[in-house]
Structures are given as C-alpha cells and as structure tokens.
C-alpha cells in the first residue's frame, strides 16, 4: 500500500481539494483508495458523531464508508479537551489500520502547516509522515520568492519523503516572477514541481446556494440562478447613481442592501449581479421581485442587519472551500490541465 500525505506549509492552501481530486482520479484508474485526516480542527456534528467537516466532505466525494471516528481520530478545537501525545498516537494507529484495510492507496489529509500544527499532541505533519511511513506531496500558495522559504524548510524536515510540490493559486501577475525565480531556486535544491495552478474563478468563488446557506437566508426567488458563482460582495448603501457606477464596474457580485432600497436593488439588477441579499428582514417590493425573476437573479432575505450579514460572509469567504460536487469535477479538470499528474503518479510509485 502506498501512503500519501497531502500537506502544506500554511492553512487554506488547497489540501482538501487536492485530496479529493487525487482520490477521484485514482479511483477512476481502478485503484482502491482510502482516506483519513489524522488531525482535525473543524469539528462538525453528523448525527451523534463529531467529525471533521473537510474529512466528511472528502469521504462523501470518494464514496467511502469509513466510520467517522476513524476518518478523523483526533479532533482539536479550543472547546475540546487536549489529549496527550501517547493516546493521540494510539488512536491514530488504530484508525489508520481500520481506514486503510484493503486499500491500495491511502490518502492522508494534512492540517494547517505540516511544520507546526499538531506538534503539542505529537501529530504534526512531519511526525505523521514518519509514523505512517508516508510520502508527502506539498500544496502551497505561491506569490513571491519568500514563499520558497517554507517549502525548503519542509524539505529539510521531510528529506526524501517529500516527493514534490504543487504551487496553487498563482496570480497572473505573479506567474512570471514565480517561473523565473521561485521554481529554479526550488529545482536547484532537488525539489520536484508537479505543476503551477493559476487562480481559478470557479474554484475561488462561492455559489449563491452556499451564500444562502451560510447566511441562513430565505430564498425569495432562485431557480438555476442559485448555481451562479459569486466572486465579489458589495454593500449597497450609497446613492443610486454612485451605486450604478460602482455596480457596473464590479462583475460576478452579490449585492447586500436593505429591503427598502428598491433603487439600489434595481441598480444591481441592471448590472452584472449574481444575487441580492436583502437585510433586516424587509421584503422587497413585488415589482423588484418580478424584475429579479425576469433576470434570473436570486433574491435572499436575511433577518439580521447588513453589518452582521457582512461578517457572516466574511467568515465564509475567508476560508473559502470547495463544497459543491459540481466544483469538484471542475477542480479535477483544472488539475489535469495544469499539473503533471502522471509524473506525480510515477513519483509516488503508483501502478500505471
């Protein structure tokens, strides 16, 4: 069995998505793929069980029936008790045995930076890799020369266990710099670069449906507009002419405004807008609603005021995660286009 640890030197770099994409790819190649997250930090309740939200999502995407306890044996959060390293280690070994039984490839989903997160309980990435005899793939955001430092630091810790790096969310303007300076520097140190993933609109947007769920909104009209992708959030509190100006310049947006601001709502509907969030529980006039329906723009009604709505959204977009099955397929294509996955497979020693 080949054990692959997908880790990073920072949080929110795309580890979970990479696990999902690799898992699906290998399953399609006919391999028995197992998955777990040794250390979870996002506890969520499924039924009576506490599980890591990301881990549960990946397991669902891969169609695994691994028990929640084994999917993520150690869950840490400020509200949960600390456990001692020996217990943690024992739990991990037991769950690993259960989750990997009968598998050909076992994916381990890292948490936070593999150099630090989990050190106190002995389950930091480097220790886990060694403990479970895994090979590591790093997924790291890269925008400047400085980002190379932590990759090299990881290499020092992991040695030969580091198989290579995927550079994620490289912006257009940073690309040239990364290609000319960062990659040669890493290659000189013998680090393999599997690929360079450009920033992707679909992956870093949220769907209107996700916005509606996060804000607990009542969907007044939706339809297939609910699948629309939102990249920008704009608060409409200005005069209508200013709003029109601003709204025209901002595409793929969600406009947050009061239910009584029909002028702002209509200005939003005149411009490239994916959805309207009306705050304060104030229902829009039916003429506005009719226009929204005509334009196929969902209208979401939330009881809280604009400020609290914005903070909910802020929290959601800060840790933007792929949660929609439709996005997973898109992500797979995105990886296939920009990452040398065959090289990755070969380096890991997967059967071809």
């Amino acid at each position: 069995m080949i054990v692959v640890y997908v880790g990073s030197t920072e949080p929110y770099s795309g580890k979970t998505l990479t696990c999902t994409v690799l898992g699906i790819r290998w399953q399609r190649q006919g391999q028995q793929v197992g998955y777990m997250r040794p250390l979870g930090v996002m506890p969520t309740r499924i039924g009576e069980e506490l599980v890591d939200e990301d881990a549960a999502f990946v397991a669902r995407q891969l169609g695994l029936e691994t028990a929640g306890r084994d999917l993520c044996p150690v869950l840490l959060s400020p509200d949960l008790c600390h456990i001692d390293p020996a217990t943690a280690r024992k739990r991990l070994e037991k769950s690993f045995a259960a989750a990997s039984a009968g598998k050909e490839v076992m994916l381990l989903n890292g948490t936070g930076s593999l150099l630090t997160r989990g050190t106190a309980v002995g389950l930091d990435g480097v220790s886990v890799v060694k403990m479970l005899d895994a090979k590591a793939v790093l997924v790291t955001r890269c925008t400047s020369f400085l980002d190379g430092d932590s990759i090299i630091a990881a290499q020092r810790q992991l040695g030969d266990r580091l198989t290579g790096v995927i550079l994620n969310r490289v912006t257009d303007s940073a690309r040239q710099h990364v290609e000319e300076h960062v990659i040669p520097c890493l290659r000189d140190r013998g680090i393999t670069i599997f690929g360079l993933l450009p920033e992707d609109t679909v992956l870093h947007s949220v769907t209107v449906r996700e916005v509606a769920e996060a804000t607990g909104a009542e969907v007044m009209c939706g339809g297939d507009g609910m699948d629309g992708l939102v990249e920008n959030f704009v608060v409409g509190a200005m005069g209508v002419e200013g709003a029109l100006r601003y709204f025209r310049r901002t595409t793929r947006k969600c406009v947050i405004t009061g239910g009584d601001r029909s002028d702002i709502q209509l200005a939003a509907l005149e411009t490239p807008t994916e959805c309207l969030i009306l705050t304060g529980g104030m229902r829009p006039s039916h003429t506005v609603l009719a226009r929204a329906q005509e334009r196929n723009v969902p209208v979401l009604l939330v009881p809280q005021d604009t400020l609290s709505t914005v903070s909910v959204i802020d929290e959601m977009t800060g840790k933007l995660r792929v949660r929609e099955p439709s996005k997973v397929e898109h992500a797979l294509q995105h990886f296939e286009r920009h990452v040398d996955l065959d090289l990755l497979d070969r380096t890991l020693g997967l059967k071809q």
């Binding site: 609109t201 025209r248 209509l266 006039s285 003429t287 005509e294």
Partner: protein, 717 residues
C-alpha cells in the same frame, strides 16, 4: 392615429353594472351624460337593461361593429375579454380594471400576458389600471366622449392632458372645473401596457383641437424614442411635462412603484432641453404654463413691459422677470411722449409703467395699449391691485380688448381675492391668463420665451468623423475574454485614439530599470502611475507621481508605487508602472459619460479639480448631440469664464473641447456597450493648441451589444 380611442362611432362597456356605486355603472353614465352621440352597448351577462340601454350578455352578441371597448371587469377576466375584442374585430380597448403590475406577482404575470396578447392580436390598449379617456370635442363624429369614471366632465378647451397617475388626474379635472380651464383630450393611461406618452404625442401632433400638450410622467420606457418624437412635436405645439421623482427619495419611490430604475435627474433635464420639452416642476407650474400657452402665443423676444397701478408690485414684478431670465423692455422715447400726454404727471412713464393708484379702467387701458404698441416691447405683464377707485371688472374687460387686438402675449396678475374675483373671471373668459402673483406670471412668460427660442433654433446637426470601429471591438472582445469589464489605461487609450484623441507618450515598465530607461527615452520630467486592472482610483492609494526628474528617481518611484499598491491592495493584480510624458500647462477639463437607464448615454462636462468634485459645476447632454449643444455644454458651466480667459489669461482652445465632446458623443452612441467613460483630465492648451487626454477609463457591459439588445427586447415583452 388612435382614432377609435377619441372618435369612436360605437362603444361597448364590458362589465357595465346596474349598481350606481360600481365603476362599471359610472363609466356608462359618463358616456351617456358626456354627450356621446354614437351607439352604446353595455355588456353584462346578468342584466337586461342599464340606464335605459339594452344590455348584451357578451361582446360577440352585438351584431353591429364596435370601435372601442371599455373594459371594467375584474382583472382575472380581462384577458378573456381582450381575446373576444380581437375576435369581434375591435382594435381599441380601454382597460380600467386594476389588478395588474401594481398588485403583486400574479398581477405582474397577468400584465405580461396582456401585453403579449394585445400585440399578437392587434388590439391597442389604454391602461390597465386607469381612469379612462375623455374627449370634449370630436370633430369627425361631432360628439364628445367621456369613457372614464372621472367625477365630472371637463370643459372644452385646447389643452390635451395625459397622466400616468389616475388619482392625480381626477384631482386635476376637478380643479380645472373650478378654475374654468378647458381640455380637448384627456387620457389616463395607468400602467401603460401599450399606449403611452410617445403614442399620445404622435396622436396629438396633428390634432386640430389641441394646441398645447400637457403630461404628468413618472418614467419613460423608451427614452431615445421619446426624444425623437418630442423633438418633432414640440416644433408644432408646446409640450409641457411634469416629471415626478426628481429627488433621490422621489426616484426611489418611483422605482418601487414601477419596478424600473428611474433615469437620473440630469438625464431628464438634458433630454427635455434637447427635445424642446417645457418642464414644469409642480402641478401649479404645469397649469400656469399650460394656460399661458393655451391662451396666448409665445413672445418674439424677451423684452417685457410691466403696466401697474401700484409701485410695490411693479418692482416685485421687475425682480421676478429678471430672475426668470427676461428683460425689462426699454420704452421708446415716442411711447414715453404719448404716455405723458395721457397719464398724470406723477406717473412713471418708464418701465414699469405706473398709471398710479387712482387709475380708472380707461387710464389703465390707455397705458396698456401704448406699451403694447411700442416696438421694443415683446410681451406685457399687467398688474392690478384693488385700490379705492380701481374698477377691476371694467379694467379686466379693457385689458382683454387690448390683448385681443395685438399678437404680443399679455399676461395678467390681478392681485387680490373678493374684490378681484369678477375681474379674474372676465380675464379667464377672454383668454388672458391671470396669476395671483407676478412671480408666477413671470415664470410662465419665461417658459414661453424659451419655447420661442427653441422654435427659432435650427436642428442641432449631428456630424460624425471617420473611425475604425474594428479597433474598438477588438479591445472590448479581448477584455471580455478575460472576464473583465473595466478597461485598463492602455486599452482605454486605444479606444479613444481611434476616435481622434491624443495622449501623452507613455510606456509600461515592469522593473525599476525599465522605468528609468523609458523615462530617459521620453525625456524628463515624467509622470509615473501604477497599472492594475484592479485599481481604479490610482491617486487614492498614492499610485501616481508627477514631476520625476531623473533616472534614479524613476527607479525609486517604481519601487515606491509597487510597494504602496501591494500594501493598500494586497490582492490587486499589478502589471507594472506606466511612465508618461508630462504635459505642462493648459486647463484641465473632464469629460465623462454614463449610461442612463432610460435615455442611454449621457455625456458630462466640467472643469477639472474642485470645480467638478466640490462645486459640482457640470453640464449634461444625452448623446448623440451636435456642435450647438456641445458649445452650450461649455457655456452652461458657471466656471466657463476660466476657459474664455479670465483676468488676462489666454483663452483655452474651445474648439478642441467641442471636438472632444463630439467624439465622445459619437463613441458612446456607436458603442452602446460602453456604460461608463471618464477622460480625466483632458488638458486643453491655449486657443489653437489642441487638447491631450492624460488619463482615461472605460467600463463596458459583460456581454456584447447584440446580446444587450436581445436582452432589451426580452425586457420589453
């Protein structure tokens, strides 16, 4: 046009009711009492006879042809009735019933289906949710028509009134009865699913009974078409419009009322100005103007004589006239001599002509007649206050006689209540507009003078320059491929260069060394600006540096600008720094455009810096416009004097500004997918020196114009 609405020979009332409380009864009663002489068919399946007329169970039971259907059935039944109208061959229907767009989601859907049905079956519709139509005279049939549920029949007159609000219309009719103001036609078009402002303007353009068109409007669905038609009609007869929702709060009220974004106040003002429409700002003004135009012809010029029997009101009138943009006429020596002969020596023989408090009707007549005979006088404002020897009624009769004998407009302000009531009635009956205060008379007279000026102005000829449109389309297409709607500086330059704009030399630097190199090539001093599609307001984040003197400084500034941009906007995509030739001297002006929801592209002009930002000293026109309006835009701003050369400065190159305005007008007209455009600043040299655009920014729609148009068509349905 729309003949069957105004001169039908037969009318069916569908939903006619036996119950006098019901609208279906009132409409029928109004038709009977309003003097309609054609055939009348009440339709109601549950009645035999209403108001002595035979009732038909349904529309199709009527054997004879029907010209006009008046529909008063509940909303749910309306579509079925319209369908029957089509089967019966009725091409005109007034839908009085409410329960459409104004009544919630179901109503909106119902109205959409009604529009579709009417269009497909060729039935013209007035309404729904309206008061109806009144025609006080119908030339062809010789009979009047009151197909409404208005509480009274207005008097005959030559003012045609259309109103988007039925409630306001009832108030206006009631008030007109009290004021003795008459109408030729009256239409309340309610939700305006089909017949609207533009159709009625067309219908009344050649209507011989109508000499003044008056409208209450909340919004205009097709701004450009309105302008085209209004421009033509207003050359034949005055069109006076009151447009509600001219404040932010008012516009918001309209938005939620109509479900469409209200056009901006500036766009309305410009559109009315460019199409010769006279704008009233209150209902009072609407009627003040309407009556003035209905009773008197416009003055040939702005020189006004004031005749009064009291000094104070005379001075007030003088102030009011000046403020309204009119001039106090200089009375000729000859007239003064004549006045001296007929008036007491203490009178004022110069304008305002004061015949003194003891003036009787005859003396007043003499003064008025002499004033009107004067060559220098274009119009007269006649004031009267009730003093002990004043003969109000006789004075009014004399004034009416004098007014009737001249083609110069005479407006009166017989001030007072009880004592003046009789005189005021005499003036009204003799078509001399009377106003309670001189200010209102002055405003009306000013509107007339403006209208006369409009009539005399030649059409604003729109000329276009040869351009390579393909360049523009290519730039837009490239941006859209990358999912951008905001064009970068380089792209905006390319677009504007195609329309003849000149820019300072510039190049993009990606490294400090490149910046120094380019600066050396261009020649110092240079300007450096951060380049990023994500940063629209470069100066807000300190992204612009002027007056860079040498290569070392250019390198430093490059790093400084990049650092600042990264600090303020960590997520911005930074492409580099633009190094530009520094344009020295010249006056900075701003040309901007924005797409108005109702009128399309509106072009703005102002002087750069505080003049636009702080003083809001700007002028607007709806594109396309010609040279005459381009020049007016420049003249209209309060700071225009700075361009003409104030305090010994050389005048700026006005012609270059005119050309720039015309080029922008052409650009945004030819490319309706430009939603915002800013040239800020355009540096204008001294006369003959031309103009250079220093910075420009363009925002386009997400989809190309064909798609936009397709979307527009969908909206209309």
């Amino acid at each position: 046009m729309l003949e069957h609405f105004f001169t039908p020979s037969s009318v069916a009332v569908i939903g006619a009711s036996t119950n006098p409380e019901k609208v279906g009864h009132q409409v029928l009663a109004n038709l009977l009492q309003g003097g309609f002489k054609g055939r009348l068919y009440p339709v109601n399946p549950r009645a035999e006879e209403i108001l002595g007329l035979r009732v038909y169970p349904e529309l199709t039971a009527i054997e004879e042809p029907v010209d006009l259907a008046v529909i008063v059935v509940p909303a749910v039944a309306v579509l079925g009735v319209v369908e029957q109208c089509a089967e019966k061959g009725i091409d005109s229907a007034i839908i009085i019933s409410a329960g459409f767009k104004e009544a919630g989601p179901e109503g909106i859907e119902r109205e959409r289906r009604l529009a579709e049905l009417a269009r497909n079956r060729g039935v013209r519709i007035v309404g729904p949710n309206c008061l109806g139509i009144i025609s006080t005279v119908a030339e062809k049939s010789g009979s009047a028509l009151n197909a409404s549920f208005a509480p009274g029949m207005p008097h005959y007159g030559n003012i045609a009134l259309m109103s988007q609000s039925g409630a306001l219309a009832t108030a206006l009719i009631d008030w007109s009865l009290q004021q003795n103001i008459g109408f030729s036609k009256f239409v309340s078009f309610g939700n305006g699913v089909d017949v609207g402002v533009v159709d009625l303007l067309r219908a009344w353009e050649e209507d011989e009974d109508t000499s003044v068109i008056v409208a209450y409007v909340e919004g205009l669905p097709d701004g450009p078409e309105f302008m085209r038609v209004a421009k033509r009609v207003s050359r034949k007869k005055p069109v006076i419009i009151i447009k509600s929702g001219s404040t932010q709060a008012g516009a918001r009220a309209i938005s939620s009322h109509t479900g469409s974004l209200a056009g901006s106040e500036q766009a309305y003002t410009a559109a009315f100005l460019q199409s010769g429409v006279i704008r009233a700002h209150s209902v009072e003004e609407l009627f003040d103007f309407a009556v003035a135009f209905a009773y008197q012809g416009p003055p040939r010029g702005r020189q006004v004589a004031v005749v009064t029997n009291a000094g104070g009101p005379g001075i007030m009138a003088t102030d009011a006239l000046e403020r309204a943009g009119l001039r106090l006429a200089t009375i000729s020596q000859e007239t003064v001599e004549r006045l001296r002969e007929g008036l007491p020596p203490a009178s004022n023989f110069y304008n305002p002509i004061d015949a003194l408090g003891d003036a009787d009707a005859e003396r007043y007549r003499f003064a008025a007649e002499m004033a009107l005979k004067d060559e220098n006088v274009d119009a007269m404002l006649a004031l009267l206050t009730p003093q002990s020897v004043t003969e109000p009624k006789q004075t009014a009769e004399n004034l009416a006689a004098v007014a009737a004998a001249t083609d110069k407009p005479v407006l009166a302000s017989f001030m007072g209540g009880e004592a003046m009531a009789e005189a005021q009635r005499v003036l009204g009956a003799n078509r001399v507009p009377n106003y309670p205060y001189p200010e209102r008379a002055a405003a009306a007279l000013s509107a007339m003078a403006d209208y006369q000026q409009w009539l005399q102005e030649p059409e604003d000829e729109i000329r276009t320059i040869q351009v390579d449109g393909a360049v523009v389309e290519a730039v837009f297409a490239a941006a859209r491929r990358e999912g951008r709607v905001n064009l970068g500086e380089t792209e905006s330059r390319e677009v504007l260069s195609a329309y003849g704009f000149k820019f300072p030399r510039n190049e993009l630097a990606r490294t400090p060394e490149e910046a120094a190199e380019i600066a050396q090539k261009i020649g110092f001093p240079v300007v450096m600006k951060i380049v990023s599609p994500d940063i629209l307001h470069k100066s807000d984040i300190g992204g612009v540096r002027l007056g860079i003197q040498d290569a070392q400084q250019a390198q430093d500034v490059f790093e400084l600008l990049m650092l600042r941009a990264k600090r303020f906007m960590p997520d911005a995509d930074l492409q580099g720094v633009s190094v530009q030739q520094m344009v020295k001297g010249g006056r900075e002006v701003i040309i901007g455009t924005s797409r108005d929801p109702q009128f399309g592209p509106v072009v703005m002009f102002g002087l750069g810096g505080i003049y636009v930002e702080v003083l809001k000293d700007v002028s607007f026109r709806v594109a396309p416009f010609g040279e005459r309006h381009a020049r007016k835009m420049i003249e209209e701003i309060r700071s225009a004097g700075l361009l003409w050369g104030a305090r010994g400065e050389q005048p700026s190159d006005i012609d270059a500004i005119v050309d720039s305005l015309l080029a922008v007008s052409q650009l945004v007209t030819e490319h309706p997918d430009i939603v915002e455009l800013d040239i800020n600043p355009l540096k204008v040299a001294e006369a003959g020196g031309g103009a250079v655009a220093v910075d420009a920014r363009i925002t386009i729609t997400e989809t190309p114009p064909e798609d936009e148009r397709a979307r527009g068509r969908q909206d209309a349905s």
